[in-house]
């Protein structure tokens, strides 16, 4: 990289070390409310990652994330309550089942063009809520499923249960870190490159042998699986699941995180998740004006940073790296 103008030593490694140390020591730095907000941000990060694979990498705008979030939450709740399965099983089963359910939904939906596809995915949330409300024998309808146990890990003599906010923070952090690694591997793989090709120009990609349709359905399923994981984590955290989990508001929150943060990048979505959850919490200082201010911030971000914060993060990263 001799061509790059340098202005100092590469501080990326120390910077990451500081970040990691900060992440590890957060429970000592923050009160439980702030830590809770961080947990929410980490939880929403999972479905946001899934959505990012869809909209940011493959170019499919979807509002279905809340549906898969809800499916994941119900799967984990039902397993935990009826079969007392360990947390890790619930988590993986939620992701898997959400991913599998995405297949029959995705096959007809993905045939549609952009706007119709968006509406179709919106329908999944609304119909999902109707099912949660009316399939009473399984979901208990509006009564909801409560007392979902805290995550526990039966590891022989080392079994432990995560019950405190701090414990949950570390659990979310580990899950989010694993998810980040998984997403990173996906987008760095040849498949990730093909996804970007489909986003950029589907016909051109197909003319080069890329089976766009298969990729789209696979990415839709992966995205749903991430949504399911997030729902499962959230259900164990809140300990209740009600039809309210199938809520448009969750879908739009995730969309705001991805599109506002920086679609097609991992750092942008992480930033977006903390930014928008943080913004929503910070604005609680003025309860009456909160959502008005949130809407105005959203508008400002859309027009000031139309491509999200990814370019900004990229510049900061290079600057820390010592490039001019």
């Amino acid at each position: 990289m001799s061509t790059v103008a340098r202005n100092g030593r590469d501080l990326r490694l120390p910077f990451v070390a500081v970040l990691a140390a900060l992440a590890a020591s957060l429970p000592w730095l923050l009160g439980s409310y702030e830590l809770h907000a961080v947990i929410v941000a980490l939880t929403f990060l999972l479905p946001a990652y899934g959505l990012n694979l869809l909209v940011g990498y493959t170019g499919l705008l979807s509002l279905a994330q809340a549906a898969f979030f809800g499916i994941g939450a119900y799967v984990t709740a039902l397993l935990a309550i009826h079969f007392q399965t360990p947390f890790i099983v619930n988590l993986l089963a939620s992701g898997l089942i959400a991913g599998l359910i995405a297949f029959p939904l995705g096959v007809p939906a993905l045939r549609l063009r952009a706007t119709s596809f968006v509406m179709c995915t919106l329908g999944f949330v609304i119909i999902g809520q109707a099912i949660a409300k009316n399939w009473i024998s399984v979901t208990r309808g509006d009564m909801g499923l409560e007392s979902i146990p805290r995550p526990s890990f039966p590891l022989g003599p080392f079994s432990f249960t995560v019950s405190t906010t701090t414990g949950f923070y570390y659990l979310s952090l580990v899950i989010a870190a694993v998810a980040t690694l998984a997403v990173w591997l996906i987008v760095r793989s040849p498949a990730g490159r093909n996804m970007v090709a489909i986003r950029e120009n589907e016909t051109l990609a197909e003319s080069l042998g890329v089976p766009a349709w298969r990729y789209k359905i696979i990415v839709f399923m992966i995205g749903a699986a991430f949504g399911g994981l997030g729902g499962a984590l959230h259900a164990h955290y809140l300990t209740v699941v009600t039809p309210l989990t199938f809520q448009m508001q969750y879908s739009t929150t995730m969309l705001v995180i991805v599109l506002g943060g920086g679609p097609g990048t991992i750092s942008g979505v992480i930033f977006g998740s903390f930014l928008f959850v943080g913004l929503s919490e910070a604005l609680r200082v003025a309860p009456e004006l909160r959502m008005i201010a949130y809407g105005l911030c959203l508008l400002a971000i859309v027009f000031r940073f139309p491509r999200g914060f990814a370019p900004l993060i990229d510049r900061a990263w290079r600057w820390i790296g010592g490039e001019r």
Partner: protein, 290 residues
């Protein structure tokens, strides 16, 4: 049995008329902007609220209140259109989604902030029932059906006969060419947007008497009802939207009768999905815009 069916179809047409007036504005806005307007229901809410303020605070008679509701909405829509919607022209779909979501949040919660979030009772309108062909319905509903038909006739005439209408049609077909031939796209977008918002406001002000209560958050449900209609109607297609709204109204009515009211809100999206599986581009052509 047969008369039940006839009555339920009529009920469907009544609610379809309400949807149609809101949806046609949204579909026209989509035509020129290529953006789904997630804030469209908020203009319906503004229309109803404007009328409520006129009745409650200024003691105006109902017809004047309707006019006030539309005027207030028009002013707000012009401001929003000038500040925000014009910037969406040519931007990505993502920008449109985020921006309109932001507008929805601001409008909805601004009304809640100013008037309080509680529901208000709407006094006014023509709510006495009349009997037509053996069916009873409120006079106001008859009015809604008539207004709906008039609105669609007027729109058809406008896009065919007036210069402004032709410009709208042109922009919805190809904004780039319009720039070339000297049509001010920004102006057309603003006009169309304001017109669409006013139609939503008209629907809101007209239905307020039969819906009795109005509140700041009432727009959202309308937005979600309208979305499947404009897709089924063929995005940007005025006539298609009319029929799609009627189909949805009737389908909802029949589902409420024969299956259960609790499934009513899923009807729109379920119908939409079935229709799209059968015809991926909607029931009506998207080419025949306006």
């Amino acid at each position: 049995m047969f008369w039940t069916l006839v009555e339920q179809v009529l009920n469907g047409i009544v609610s379809g008329s309400v949807y149609a007036i809101v949806a046609v504005g949204m579909t026209m806005i989509f035509g020129v902007l290529r953006a789904i307007n997630f804030a469209h229901g908020e203009y319906y809410m503004l229309g109803a609220f404007g009328a409520w303020v006129a009745v409650e605070y200024i003691d105006l008679p109902y017809p004047a209140a309707v006019v006030i509701g539309i005027l207030v909405t028009a002013l707000i829509a012009l401001a929003v259109g000038w500040l925000i919607m014009q910037r969406i022209v040519g931007a990505t779909a993502e920008t449109g989604v985020l921006a309109t979501l932001g507008v929805a949040l601001v409008l909805q919660n601004a009304v809640i902030f100013i008037f309080g979030g509680s529901y208000k009772y709407f006094n006014g309108g023509y709510i006495e029932p009349v009997t037509i062909f053996g069916f009873m319905l409120a006079e106001q509903r008859v009015l809604i059906i008539i207004v709906c038909v008039l609105v669609f006739l007027a729109l058809e005439a406008m896009v065919k006969l007036t210069w402004a209408g032709k410009a709208m049609r042109a922009v919805s077909q190809n904004p780039l060419c319009c720039e070339v031939v000297g049509i001010d796209v920004g102006k057309v977008v603003l006009q169309t947007f304001a017109l669409g918002a006013c139609l939503a406001a008209l629907s809101g002000a007209l239905t307020a008497p039969v819906n009795v209560t109005v509140y700041g958050g009432m727009g959202e449900i309308i937005t979600f009802k309208t979305l499947p209609i404009i897709i089924m109607g063929g995005l940007g297609n005025v006539r298609g939207t009319f029929f799609a709204a009627m189909i949805l109204g009737v389908a909802e009515s029949l589902v409420a009768t024969y299956i259960g009211l609790q499934y009513r809100d899923t009807v729109g999206f379920a119908t939409l999905m079935l229709v799209l599986m059968w015809r991926p581009h909607g029931l009506f052509s998207t080419r025949a815009r306006f």
